[in-house]
Amino acid sequence: MSTAYQIVVCGSIVPDPLQTLEPVASPTGPALKNEMMLPAVLDPWAGHALYEAANLAKNAPGTKVWLVSLGPKAKLQQVMMTVAQKVPFELVALDGSASGFTDATETAAALAEAITAIPGLDKSKLLVFGGWESASRGAGATMQIVGERLGIVDQFQGVDQLTVNADGSLEILERIEGGKHQVSKCAGAPALLGWATGNLPEPKNNPQVGMVNMRTVMPALQKAKPTKLAGEGLAFASVALPKQLRETQIVKDKSPDDIAKEIVEWIKK
């Protein structure tokens, strides 16, 4: 018998990875130069979490997916124009900073509050998904704190696979050291899963899905709650780009045999 879940995916936006990033000082602490001008994308691992949620929803009739996202409203709107065409979900938007220099605890508190406020949420059916780390702060801390705030103690990080067994239990593969996976069995919801890459390719854009999603996305953005992340107790002494730009020696005229010899000598050195 299939279980209908309520899947809440936490995911924000990050600068497009192809952009050059440069830190600058702002009155509230470190920030990125021209941060509001940088093209943004859905945080990659959170994106995988969203696609996995949609895939689970497709296979578990009655399941619903929410995307809870904290970011500057205008940037969220831009990113949602693309993301909303990928898979069906209902957006819960929070208008605040998506900077990597914000504090995970404060972000988590805002996300947990937004999740709790979702009407009709049934904890016995709740699966909280998200990326195991963001491409901004990269702390791998937010999801655990969200889980704690929601009272969920079955938590998994670096998840690459979720299988729902016939008895409703969840079998989960988590990344551990040395290219291995830990396999765990959880009795069922509620559970929290911080996804790594998973196994699914990025879904193709589907304008029909986009049209359905946009009916809820735009109202959600309009009523996005302003969220202040004060960075209480956190102070940055410095933020700097690494100085290790290398003097690259470009070797053009050597034969493969000579290059191979040089590489072997270098490996053995």
Partner: protein, 365 residues
């Protein structure tokens, strides 16, 4: 030119009164009851802070089925007390029980600073424990120091693109030290008196059971964290070559041959591991676990050799902690040429690696 580092960002709150820190090193035992190298690295970082902070105390907390031998193995360290949570329930790497154990030890030790290796086990748990105790957590920390009586930590932001140094006023402050970023402590063995801390687990803590570890067969394991060399393969290995054909079986043979001879760890660009999802020819031994970069790993190796990979920024941010870097690519204008590699060879990687394998197999240079 690189911009000047941002400095002197004002604290948002006045400094608190000087705290006499109690620094707790939190570690879990491995199979067999020993401590991993990463635990000794965390101990080294903690001992260094302890030495720099007048009036601070250093204590150790250990979790595992049995922790006595682990405690004994570091008995000569400057810790004044050892706490332990033991039992079969704590042999598993499981959020509910690990969080309960860590919480109990932190309370028993009255820790204000908790330093732990950022293993997958602790990374899963520590931010949640910090939340329970009203503290804060900083993860992937690559350095910790004391200046003017205050602890500061170094960590990277935006996937290793920029490094920040920060301090916190909240306590307890959980600091997860990235494995490989510190020197392991060399404190010797002895006999440690471990104070056992009781943890009452409810049935709700045992809804999850670890049922095993899934890993490739020993000879098929291509991820080797302790290897000297990272060998990265890019999508070029599966593209059409000069003869207008793809040579995926040959690429597979060359890459596996190189790994066998060199004992390198295998990394990949995202584009190569993504090919499978796009229905293209793939190298079957590659998975997302091999992926290095923005949405992959940031491994630590002394040397890195990239082949058939363009060295674009989303990939090369994963090379932040690779020492010497060389690349083989047909494009002299690829990303590696722009200050990302020490040496870029403009050559056909098929020919170069075939010869490298031959030389390595023959043991001659």
């Amino acid at each position: 030119m690189l911009p000047s580092p941002i400095s002197g960002t004002p604290a948002r709150r006045p400094s608190p009164k000087k705290i006499m820190e109690t620094i707790l090193v939190l570690a879990h035992t491995e199979n067999g009851g020993a401590l991993a190298k990463s635990a000794r690295e965390a101990l080294h970082a903690a001992a260094t802070l302890h030495k720099s902070l007048a009036g601070s105390k250093l204590v150790v907390g250990l979790i595992g089925e049995n922790v006595q031998s682990a405690a004994n193995s570091i008995a000569a360290c400057p810790a004044i007390k050892y706490f332990g949570v033991t039992g079969a329930d704590f042999s598993q790497s499981r959020y509910a029980t690990d969080a309960a154990a860590a919480e109990a030890i932190c309370k028993a030790a009255q820790a204000t600073v908790v330093i732990a290796p950022a293993t997958s086990r602790w990374a899963r748990v520590l931010p949640g424990v910090a939340q329970r105790l009203g503290g804060r957590a900083d993860t992937h920390v690559t350095g910790a120091a004391v200046a003017d009586g205050k602890i500061s930590v170094n960590r990277w932001y935006y996937r290793q693109r920029m490094e920040g140094v920060s301090t916190r006023t909240q306590r307890p402050w959980f600091i997860g030290i990235d494995p490989g970023s510190q020197t392991p402590c060399e404190c010797g063995a002895g006999t440690a008196a471990v104070e056992m801390v009781a943890v009452n687990l409810t049935d709700a803590s045992k809804r999850t059971t670890v049922i095993g570890i899934r890993e490739p067969k020993a000879d098929a394991q291509t991820i080797r964290p302790d290897a000297q060399l990272l060998f990265v393969t890019g999508a070029g290995w599966t593209k059409k070559q000069a003869d207008g054909q793809t040579h995926v079986p040959e690429a597979e043979k060359l890459i596996l041959g190189f790994l066998k001879q060199s004992r390198a760890s295998l990394g990949s660009s995202k584009s190569l591991v993504d090919l499978g999802g796009e229905g293209q020819a793939v190298l079957p031994f590659l998975s997302h676990l091999n992926q290095v970069g923005q949405t992959g790993a940031t491994p630590r190796h002394a040397k890195g050799l990239s082949t058939c990979c363009h060295g674009e920024e989303p990939h090369t941010v994963g090379w932040r902690f690779i020492g010497e870097r060389r690349a083989v690519n047909l494009d002299p204008n690829c990303g590696w040429a722009r200050g990302k590699a020490d040496v870029l060879y403009i050559a056909d990687a098929f020919k170069v690696i075939a010869k490298v394998n031959e030389l390595l197999a023959g043991g001659k240079t």
